[in-house]
Point group: C2
Chain length 337, copies 2
DNA sequence: CCCCGATAGCTAATCGTTTCGCTGAACTTT
DNA sequence: AAAGTTCAGCGAAACGATTAGCTATCGGGG
């Protein structure tokens, strides 16, 4: 690989001038500029980011650490993020914490070592598991799950509203015995959605039955077994609110395996389902997140911080979910009410 | 951020010693080692990759450039690749060429500038669109689509076998008027799969009708319109072989929109569908690729090259597809045969 | 008692950029 | 014509690590 010195020598100028031409950082006479440009082309010179970054203390890298790459929801985020990062002139370094706090901790340290200019993090741990120094000195945006007491910018969804919307819909259809399959309670996401459900029921003077609220990991398998258990009992709910897209797939499978039909025997509504899981029949009634918008916003905030165009302390952007009506919910049947 | 000098000063040793401790590259007495380790912990020192890389001419970065991040097939590759890259001690830089050769060209140059140690590329261009220098000096593995005449290692699927398997299955069910919706002909992937189809039909003395073989971009929309057109005509095929997973979704939608039923009115078989698109009803009969195995193998080859444990010129690994029988194919009905 | 070999640890050069501070030619201003 | 300005372009010092080559210490053999 040709270096800046080679270019300088070939063009008969100093390295400073080549640098000036490359970065348009000082006036260079047309003649010298032309010589430099020719030399660059001739030698196929490409500047070494390693050297530039060492000097500038920048890396042009933005890290994205998501909670579970096998989840289409996060795959969708990755897709949007790659586009946004490229549009801002950075490159994307991708990490998968696989919902494991330990892995996440290693990733955080790695991001630091790589000298990433910023990171977008979908945190997987509880608020008290983070040390302040893990976020120091590197621009951070938390996506999807805020961490209480953390001083990073945040882009999230109104989870409580999501739970409320979905369960309100089920209540409007006449359901009263409504169950829920939800994620780990230490995550604000799970908690918020469940709170929304409770809000909605409380507004009509109802409370969920204890055995009808189950939580487990945000995984298809966990949801399957939990749902199978819950739906196997005689006083099973007539409708279920599932707090996560992949979990919904597990729940649907459990229902089918129990010989129940959706929506005839049981209605299912969920939150955060990805449009692409779209082939699923019946199509889910769900609250959807504006993933692309959220991701773009997260990167806007991040780049703002990186390029220091921002002074305010912490910005918290909350998006609203939208209820998408599918075919997975039906009015309560008289005979099973 | 603390630097190696700070650590050296605090521990009362030279930077060389600190480096030796960090990299285990020379014998250091237990006493000094202890002092160094303490200082490192105390200052929370993390070495700067930028500096290390400048010196070592390494970046610890592996680039992955896929053809279309919105396609679950590639999302699956990304998932596997992240895990494999991390397991080998590198970090993953992700790019989406979006099936656009121009974008891909920019990506290649960016990868070079970043100084990535290696790259895994799912190429989107025709063989003659690549300049040899675009691959020079950087370890490369082509994934999925070989480029003829290119000297990079390759991991691919036996596309011809995939086409043959799927179409053989349709033929075994009695179908004779078989159509195909396939991708761009300049891609070896599309061509191979179509050739396989032709092989299978030829083996029974058949050839596809000209109007029954349509190609378009590897996108759902393209497939939708092409299929809609093909299936709208009176002598429409009784079975379709679709060369790609997302295209299959488009085809299924076209069939439904035309008021046809699958598999009763038309059988559909495809190649490369991702298991996760699994909710799709009826479940597709398809040839599947061992994505995780292919990706792992690609990274093994790549790391081999990067760490120069390899001398042979070019390695070409070809995986075999597996036929997965779903519910989207039925025996030929007498009345429409 | 001297010399030599082994080796722990240090000094300093190096990687390829950016950028500060300087030089000196060309122009202005009196 | 002398003095002051301007500014294109250069030289060299960073940035933070690795590493070749050197020094000094120690133990052992003759």
């Amino acid at each position: 690989m040709a270096t800046i010195k080679d270019v300088a020598r070939t063009a008969g100028v100093s390295t400073a001038t080549v640098s000036a031409v490359m970065n348009d950082t000082a006036f260079v006479s047309p003649e010298l500029r032309a010589r430099v440009v020719t030399a660059i082309r001739e030698l196929r010179y490409e500047p070494s980011l390693a050297a530039r970054n060492l000097r500038r203390n920048r890396s042009q890298l933005i890290a994205l650490a998501v909670a579970d790459l096998s989840n289409p929801f996060y795959a969708r985020i990755v897709w949007s993020a790659e586009a946004a990062v490229a549009a801002w002139g950075y490159s994307l370094v991708l990490f998968n914490s696989d919902e494991k706090p330990d892995t996440e901790r290693r990733i955080l340290s790695r991001i630091r070592t790589l000298g990433c200019d910023g990171m977008v993090l979908v945190p997987v741990g509880a608020a008290n598991q983070y040390q302040p120094h893990e976020f120091e000195g590197i621009a951070t945006v938390l996506l999807g799950r805020p961490i209480e007491g953390n001083s990073a910018d945040t882009v999230s969804i109104d989870n409580r509203a999501a739970g409320r919307q979905a369960v309100d819909y089920l209540l409007d259809l006449g359901h009263r015995r409504i169950g829920s399959v939800t994620g780990p309670m230490q995550l604000s996401t799970s908690k918020g959605r469940l709170d929304g459900m409770i809000d909605a029921m409380a507004a009509r003077g109802l409370t969920p039955q204890p055995g009808h609220v189950r939580s487990g990991e945000f995984r298809e398998e966990a949801a399957y077994s939990v749902a199978r258990d819950m739906m196997g009992s005689p006083d099973r709910p007539t409708a279920i609110y599932v707090a996560n897209g992949v979990m919904a797939i597990g729940v649907m499978r459990a229902i089918a395996d129990l010989g129940l039909r959706c929506p005839q025997d049981v209605s299912v509504a969920s939150t955060d389902t990805v449009a692409g899981a779209g082939g699923l029949k019946p199509r889910l009634t769900r609250t959807e997140h504006p993933i692309a918008d959220m991701t773009n916003e997260a990167l806007r905030l991040l780049v703002d911080r990186i390029e220091e165009r921002v002074s305010e302390p912490v910005r918290n952007i909350v998006f609203q979910p939208a209820l998408i009506v599918g075919e997975s919910c039906a009015p309560l049947r008289k005979d099973i009410g």
